[in-house]
């Protein structure tokens, strides 16, 4: 306003006189005058503002409008209707919450930041909050204009954390809670996986990166996957270490059901005080997700958000595979027909084209010149282009979400429709997702509130059979000829040409194997539907006492259909094996159907329900100086899953007919014998139930001292475990001291907030959860033998373990929260100690027990760590803002001891396996003390006593070198956001430090260099070229010699080199996970387009900034333990996205 008056003086020369009080009471406005007379302009400016104007001389005087009589009468009743506007950093804030202090009444701002609040006592206080902004308390008056401090969304100054059971003001929460930056979360369009989007945003939450991190398909085979994650290190060996995911208060088994665009808020619960209320399932921490709900201000918002993400194809140049010339050279050098005479290869082994030439030359069927010419021509072929063109395409994803939200105080809703189309890099794959969600809430009077969240999803995917090919196949083997005709590669079947010809002619079935054609001979199609209903009821019973009920129902039916036609090589070879051909001139008969195909249909369904009833007592004590909150509750849960799989043979897709073939074993077919086991119908049915009771207690004294306590007991329908064994309540206790509020701190004006907190709690896992039992559990087995003799039998699937007990984890957390210099710097430090005793795990048993291993209590695991998170507002000005965030978690875990039997883990398992050894971190990596090559080119080791030897069995456990863990002790993220006017640039860096990995060295130094039957392997890596070839080479190379015979090879130990200390590298790296440039369309443009807000952004991902290895290995895509380099599915992904609100 004052600004406008200044402008008036500038343009007209009239001074404007006003009282600053009056002007401040007036609401902010934006006006646009062009050649308007002053009087008209002032009228326009001051209307609706309780202000009047007059011109005296060349001065304009602005005064408070005299109230009309009616207005004056109304004012006497002190009940006013508040209208106001909320802005943040000068921009109107849509959806800010206005709560009448001490009541349940609340509203939200409209899209232009305005709000109305009826019938408010003038004495009362309104609390105005908006996610990421500082909350303000304002005295109620008719007109309120509030500008929340120019905060940025990166600053997670969210006032409230949610445990899924209750919302706690962050300033009084004793537990260890973290919230990700939701703006970054929202912008990470590269993935629709909610877990993957959290990477680097929460200290202590580690996302297992890369392909290896993907979860396995679940038992019912509905194919849902999301990335593995752990909070504060692995606390268990045997059990799943993923956190528990909770959506709108209900634990969810399948997070994929939810659209990231529908998520409003996420809280990560890390210590016992935060998570113990979730009981036994919370041992790995909890991720609490809140979905969006409607606004209550009477307007309707329609928004669109969408993105297009481009990933391209895998980059095979990243690997170290040999090219054709190198491969042919290596093949020539290693060819040893004396060791491997063609005649000894038998009837089931592959003789690759280059070997056919070499054997031809050796057996003098072709001359040396002819052989060389043929090999040279192979060496000149490179199949990579064909691999790219014929098996891959550019991967991309598009996602569109349209949402509508709106409502009033009585009823509000949020509804969205979402479509995701994933085009993977594999040809002939399709994956589409459709999701609808509808969240509603009803307020019936001031006592009763109901809400109902509904989600409906459908995912449809399909793919064709066929081969998976990478750069480790024979590099000269093309897949189609110059005319584009697919190439037949019968040598890959492993059968000799004579045998194939004989079988084909006698069975009259062609046995040609043409890899490229195989994808035409079948399909697999998956169709999953998800329905999720979450209802809640909140009833105020009596002063401060309320009842809260939450009820969730999830249903997910799905179907998977797999068809393989009789034209496929696989079925043709079955048909041939079933052909009975007494003589070549009689048409053969076939035991296996020769038409149609093999059709497998799996139907699966998941049905889960949860119900929770809570009594909440919440009131102020000691004249509002203290706050008390008490909850008692009960919960019941069931998860039920079924799966039925049917396999039909000779299935005709059009006639829907099939052939019934009983289990058959028949001798005397074309290939010798035919055996067929009827797969029939397979059923899986699982059902689990839980009942739980819990209690929560919170007390805050003088706003300075808080005490939280929780207690919960879970009982479940575990089989083979006594109920009495389940009586293990989990509990926690925590305290917080808000030091800043003490009087002696009042002088420190630069300190906004300082709080100390400490928590302790015990969580646990029942042995049954890991599948261990206190009785022998039997299961009936139908023998899979082709000649079943005695029929079904009973198998002991779990042996009884009389000494089982609970896995229990004690967690202590100490933390500091702080905020300095008017929130320019804020953050927290947490230190935690976690000790897991009676760790459940697969333990090696004394073999005389009859079992090699079983589930039991292994020992004690400790996790210690420290976490720091820091947010800073580095630069704040009208046009330019710069904010940063930094978080880092350090975790050290150690298997303290084994209380189980001494498993005497063999040396080779220590070297190759990711085993758990007492005294070491989980995922320990050991290496051999490599000591160069000996004069025969064999790797040597230096033993602890100084001896250098190449003897395979010479080394013992004491000689091994402990290199560190494959799990990173340090991980975290750094984010920076720059905002210039309407542009913003955000870069997020993630890092994993301090762990180790093996380099991907060649490990083939013996045998024939060829491929395997119908396998697409066979290539070597280029370090093979640096191998030892002649005495003296050991001075220059560490790469062992090639020897052709296995006997020679078993006299040496190649693993001294491949698993030697020279091939262990640091796996530390830092990557810019994403860079995003966003642009908000200016208001003028928006008004012309008749839309409320619009932003566009572009994002690029995955830029390696630093890695601590010189071999160009991306640790994200390396088998850390074994040193296998995976080819990343893409190098960088690029995304364009748009967000529009109408």
């Amino acid at each position: 306003m004052a600004q406008v008056f200044k402008e008036i003086k500038l343009q007209t020369g009239y001074n404007v006189f006003y009282s600053s009080d009056e002007i401040n009471d007036a609401k902010k406005t934006s006006v646009n005058f062009k050649n308007t007379p002053l009087a008209e302009a002032l009228d326009e400016l001051l209307k609706n503002m309780n202000l009047s104007w007059s011109i005296q001389d060349r001065n304009v005087v602005v005064r408070r409008k005299e109230l009309a009589l009616l207005d004056q009468l109304t004012a006497l009743f002190k009940e006013i209707n508040v209208h106001g506007q909320v802005s943040g950093g000068g921009f109107p804030l849509a959806g800010a919450t206005i709560v009448l202090k001490g009541s349940n009444r609340a509203t939200r701002t409209a899209v232009d930041g305005t709000f109305f609040f009826d019938n408010v006592d003038e004495k009362e206080i309104l609390i105005i909050s908006y996610m990421g902004y500082e909350t303000k308390e304002v005295k109620a008056k008719v007109s309120i204009t509030v500008d929340l401090s120019a905060a940025v969304s990166r600053l997670n100054e969210v006032a409230v954390v949610s445990t899924g059971y209750q919302d706690i003001k962050k300033e009084r929460a004793t537990g260890s809670f973290s919230k990700p930056d939701m703006a970054v979360f929202k912008n990470r369009a590269g993935t629709m996986d909610i877990v993957a989007r959290l990477e680097g945003l929460v200290p202590g939450l580690v996302i297992r990166p890369g392909l290896k991190g993907l979860e396995e398909n679940n038992q019912l085979g509905n194919g849902n996957t999301s990335q593995k994650s752990t909070i504060r290190g692995e606390s268990s060996i045997q059990l799943n270490t993923n956190p528990l995911f909770v959506v709108d208060g209900v634990a969810i088994s399948n997070l994929n059901l939810f659209n990231p665009d529908d998520i409003e808020d996420i809280t990560v619960l890390k210590d016992a005080a935060a998570a113990a209320i979730w009981g036994a399932r919370a041992a790995n921490g909890v991720v609490v997700i809140k979905t969006k709900s409607g606004t209550k201000n009477g307007t309707v918002n329609i928004s669109y958000s969408g993105f297009l993400n481009y990933q391209g194809r895998p980059d095979y140049r990243y690997g170290k595979a040999m090219n054709s010339q190198q491969f042919i050279q290596a093949a020539k050098e290693t060819f040893d027909p004396q060791q491997y005479p063609l005649s000894s290869l038998g009837y089931y082994s592959v003789v690759a084209p280059h070997e056919q030439i070499l054997y031809g030359q050796f057996e003098k069927r072709i001359t040396e010149a002819e052989a060389n010419k043929a090999l040279d021509s192979l060496a000149s072929i490179n199949n990579l282009d064909q691999v790219y063109d014929l098996f891959y395409r550019n991967a991309s994803t598009q996602n569109h979400t349209v949402s509508i939200s709106g409502g009033s105080n009585m009823y509000s809703f949020y509804s969205s429709a979402n479509f995701v189309d994933v085009i993977s890099n594999r040809i002939n794959e399709s994956n589409k997702n459709y999701r609808l969600s509808f969240n509603q809430s009803f307020s019936l009077g001031s006592r009763l509130k109901l809400s109902l969240n509904t989600t409906l999803g459908n995912s449809v995917s399909s793919q064709t059979p066929g081969i998976s090919i990478s750069n480790n196949f024979l590099p000269y083997q093309l897949f189609q000829d110059v005319q584009g005709r697919p190439i037949t590669m019968n040598y890959l079947t492993g059968f000799s040409p004579e045998l194939l010809a004989d079988w084909s002619s006698r069975s009259r079935i062609n046995l040609d194997y043409t890899p490229l054609m195989e994808s035409n001979y079948g399909y697999s199609k998956r169709n999953n539907t998800h329905i999720n209903l979450l209802g809640s009821i909140n009833l105020n019973l009596f002063k401060g006492l309320s009842f809260n009920g939450s009820y969730g129902l999830q249903k997910a039916p799905g179907q998977n259909k797999v068809y393989l036609d009789h034209k496929s090589y696989e079925l043709r070879s079955v048909i041939v094996s079933s052909a009975i051909s007494p003589s070549s001139d009689i048409k053969p008969s076939y035991l296996y159907p020769t038409t149609g195909g093999r059709y497998t249909v799996s139907d699966n369904e998941e049905r889960n329900w949860t119900l929770r009833n809570q009594l909440i007592y919440s009131r102020s004590v000691r004249h509002d100086r203290d706050q008390l909150n008490l909850q008692l509750g009960q919960e019941a849960q069931e998860s039920f899953g079924t799966s039925t799989t049917n396999t039909l043979i000779g299935y005709d897709e059009h006639l829907l007919t099939h052939v019934v073939l009983p289990p058959t074993f028949y001798r005397g077919t074309v290939t010798g014998a035919f055996s067929y086991a009827d797969f029939g119908t397979a059923f899986i049915e699982t059902q689990k139930r839980f009942t739980s009771y819990f209690a929560l207690f919170n007390y805050t004294m003088n706003g300075k001292y808080s005490l939280d306590a929780s207690w919960r007991t879970d009982k479940s329908s575990l089989f083979g475990v006594d109920f009495s064994a389940q009586n293990r309540p989990v509990w926690s206790i925590g305290g917080l001291w808000n030091i800043r509020k003490e009087n002696f701190m009042s002088a420190l004006t630069w300190l906004d907030n300082l709080a100390l907190k400490a928590t302790y709690g015990i969580t646990g896992n029942s042995p049954g959860k890991a599948g261990a039992t206190q009785a022998d559990v039997l299961s009936i087995i139908v023998p899979s033998m082709s000649q079943p003799l005695a029929g079904n039998y009973m198998e002991i699937i779990n042996p009884k373990n009389g000494r089982l007990s609970w896995e229990s984890t004690q967690t202590t957390n100490l933390g500091i929260n702080f905020s300095l210099f008017n929130s320019r710097i804020s953050g927290g430090i947490d230190v935690y100690f976690r000790k897991t005793t009676n760790l459940l795990g697969q333990m090696d048993l004394n073999r005389f027990t009859g079992w090699t291993s079983a589930l039991g209590n292994l020992g004690e695991l400790s996790n210690k760590g420290i976490e720091l998170s820091l947010q800073t507002r580095n630069l704040e000005s009208r046009n330019l803002n710069w904010t940063s965030s930094f978080n880092i978690g350090y975790n050290k875990n150690k298997l303290v001891n084994y209380s189980g039997l001494d498993p005497r883990i063999p040396l080779s398992s220590i070297i190759t396996g990711s085993l758990y050894l007492p005294g070491y971190s989980t995922g320990p990596l050991f290496s051999y003390p490599f000591a160069g090559l000996n004069a025969e080119g064999n790797p040597q080791v230096r033993l602890a006593d100084g001896t250098i030897t190449a003897q395979p069995d010479a080394i013992s456990r004491e000689d091994l070198i402990y290199e560190g863990s494959v799990n990173p002790p340090y991980s975290g993220g750094i984010g920076n956001t720059f905002r210039y006017k309407l542009f913003s640039l955000t870069a997020n860096l993630i890092f994993n430090l301090g762990n180790v990995m093996r380099a991907d060295v060649n490990d083939t130094y013996t045998g024939r260099i060829s491929t395997i039957p119908t396998g697409f392997l066979g290539n070597l890596t280029t370090d093979f070229m640096d191998r030892w070839r002649k005495p003296g080479d050991e001075q220059f190379t560490n790469v062992p010699a090639y020897v052709s015979s296995f006997q020679q090879a078993s006299a040496r130990a190649i693993e001294y080199y491949t698993y030697g200390n020279i091939n262990v590298l640091s796996a530390s790296y830092a990557k810019i996970r994403d860079i995003t440039l966003a642009y908000n369309l200016p208001t003028q443009v928006l008004q012309r387009l008749k839309i409320k807000t619009a932003s566009l952004s572009v994002q690029a991902t995955n830029f390696m900034v630093w890695k601590n290895n010189k071999l160009n290995i991306d640790p994200e895509y390396n088998g850390l333990n074994v040193g296998a380099r995976n080819i990343p599915p893409f190098r960088h992904s690029y995304t364009i996205s748009a967000n529009v609100t109408f």
């Binding site: 001798r667 005397g668 014998a673 899986i684 089989f719 005695a790 005389f848 027990t849 005497r904």
Partner: protein, 471 residues
């Protein structure tokens, strides 16, 4: 509705769900199902004795590509198993002992079924436990010699099913044999002569097993009593157990037709042909100890008369269908070795104890019973030069065992017991590897006396560091 849900969730029965497909053993049917386990009868993959008999030789082309355990076993090496490699035989038999112990200790206490049913199942478990121990002690304990058995280290006797057991100690060979005898003796009265399928233990089977154990202990009189009793029982069930007459079986319409790629359709490669089984158990010949690269010695082939129809099981092809050097033969029609109790075995064992106890006529009668079914009857009779000399007769019976069971792992236990038999203990054994021409000798391995007893695998010792291994 809320109250309904509340009350439902509070009931204890809400949690009592028996998962589909799982059960805690409580009925006769459950325990019967345990004894019906395939691990008691079907093809396990690592019986060391399969490659150790002296009826075998190796050939240089394929032998190097045989499994490492085959190569080491054939060479009678000290250390068969690498530190990390477990023995399939031990794994299977110890697991079987676990199942048997569970059944033995529990089944009499269940409420279900009749007492006879419960006792029958327990007896079956006892007999199987005995057989598992007999298989193991004939690998890891010294051959039974009454004078030293009480001090020779054997194997731990495990009588409870409990995975947390530790502190295992090696009982003496004598104690193990006493346990085997006692288990079989307790079992026999509770067993029936009729079984549903011959993978299950009948009374005649248990008595035959007991006879075999006595034979291996050198107690021939005791053995004879058991064999006679078993044959008496068999006579009542002769319709289900009899010898195939090869003179008929090999006819174009016979049961051994058709000849496939793996030879005639016979009990050696078709487990449905159960006529000759008293107790059917098999071990597969393509596992850890496979017959890859193994052939018969020339002496073995010379044991057969040209008219012996058992020659049909031999071929001069390798398992990968490349031809063997001239003069070498492999038993290609053999996929499974029979490790239970075969009628032919019991006939020959009774012939042996009869011969050893002076009943020459009985021995010859048994021998000819078998031989008549294996060759034209004109050639079946035992030569009079043999019948005249008890030692020659004994040798003839032992050779007949080779003719009948070559390549099936029967010879190795026989070699073991003969090593402590004063009549044969001076014999030395060697294994030859033939060169590519089929006549030159590429390698010779000689059996050291201490290698009649295998060393315990290192993996077993690693978990039991106080246990002393065999020399």
């Amino acid at each position: 509705m809320l109250m309904l849900l509340l009350s439902m969730s509070c009931k204890k029965s809400f949690l009592e769900i028996v998962p589909k497909g799982q059960v805690l053993a409580s009925t006769v049917k459950d325990y019967d199902g345990l004894m019906n386990h395939t691990s008691f009868y079907a093809n396990y993959y690592g019986l060391p004795g399969l490659v150790m008999g002296d009826e075998l030789a190796a050939e240089a082309v394929q032998f190097p590509s045989a499994p490492l355990l085959t190569q080491r076993g054939f060479a009678w090496m000290d250390q068969l198993y690498d530190a990390t490699v477990s023995s399939a035989q031990l794994d299977v038999e110890l697991k079987n002992i676990y199942i048997c112990n569970k059944v033995i200790n529990e089944v009499l206490h269940i409420a279900d079924g009749t007492e006879a049913q419960r006792k029958n199942i327990r007896a079956e478990a006892l007999a199987n436990r005995a057989w598992s121990y007999f298989g193991l002690i004939t690998c890891y304990g010294k051959p039974y010699l009454a004078s030293s058995a009480a001090t020779d280290p054997g194997l731990p006797i495990i009588l409870t099913a409990e995975i947390s057991n530790t502190g295992f100690k090696r009982n003496s060979v004598s104690e193990v044999y006493q346990q085997i005898l006692s288990d079989l003796k307790v079992a026999i009265p509770d067993l029936s002569t009729q079984v549903e399928v011959k993978t299950r233990v009948s009374r005649q089977a248990a008595m035959g097993m007991l006879g075999k154990v006595y034979l291996f202990m050198g107690q021939y009189e005791e053995a004879k009593i058991q064999f006679d009793a078993a044959f008496a029982d068999l006579a009542t069930t002769s319709s289900t157990t009899s010898l195939y007459d090869y003179n008929e079986a090999f006819l174009p319409t016979g049961v051994f037709q058709p000849f496939g790629r793996f030879g005639p359709n016979n009990p050696g490669n078709n487990t449905q042909l159960l006529n000759e089984a008293i107790l059917h158990k098999t071990a597969i010949l393509s596992g850890d100890f496979s017959n890859t690269g193994l052939v018969m010695t020339k002496e073995t082939m010379d044991l057969y008369k040209p008219s012996d129809l058992r020659l049909n099981f031999y071929s001069n092809m390798r398992s990968n269908f490349t031809p063997l050097p001239p003069g070498l033969y492999g038993k290609y029609a053999l996929t499974y070795a029979h490790t239970g109790l075969e009628l032919a075995d019991m006939i020959l064992m009774r012939a042996e104890v009869r011969a050893r106890t002076g009943n020459t006529a009985g021995a010859v009668q048994d021998l000819e019973w078998l031989r008549k079914n294996r060759m034209p009857s004109a050639d079946a009779s035992v030569p009079s030069t043999v019948t005249a000399d008890p030692l020659k007769l004994l040798n003839f019976i032992l050779e007949e065992r080779i003719r009948e069971f070559a390549g099936e792992g029967y010879r190795w236990p026989d070699m073991r017991r003969l090593s402590v038999d004063p009549l044969f203990s001076s014999k030395t054994y060697r294994h030859l590897v033939f060169g590519e021409d089929g006549t030159s000798i590429k390698n010779t391995y000689t059996l050291k006396p201490e290698r009649f007893t295998l060393r315990l695998p290192q993996l077993i010792l690693a978990g039991n560091p106080d246990m002393i291994n065999n020399p």
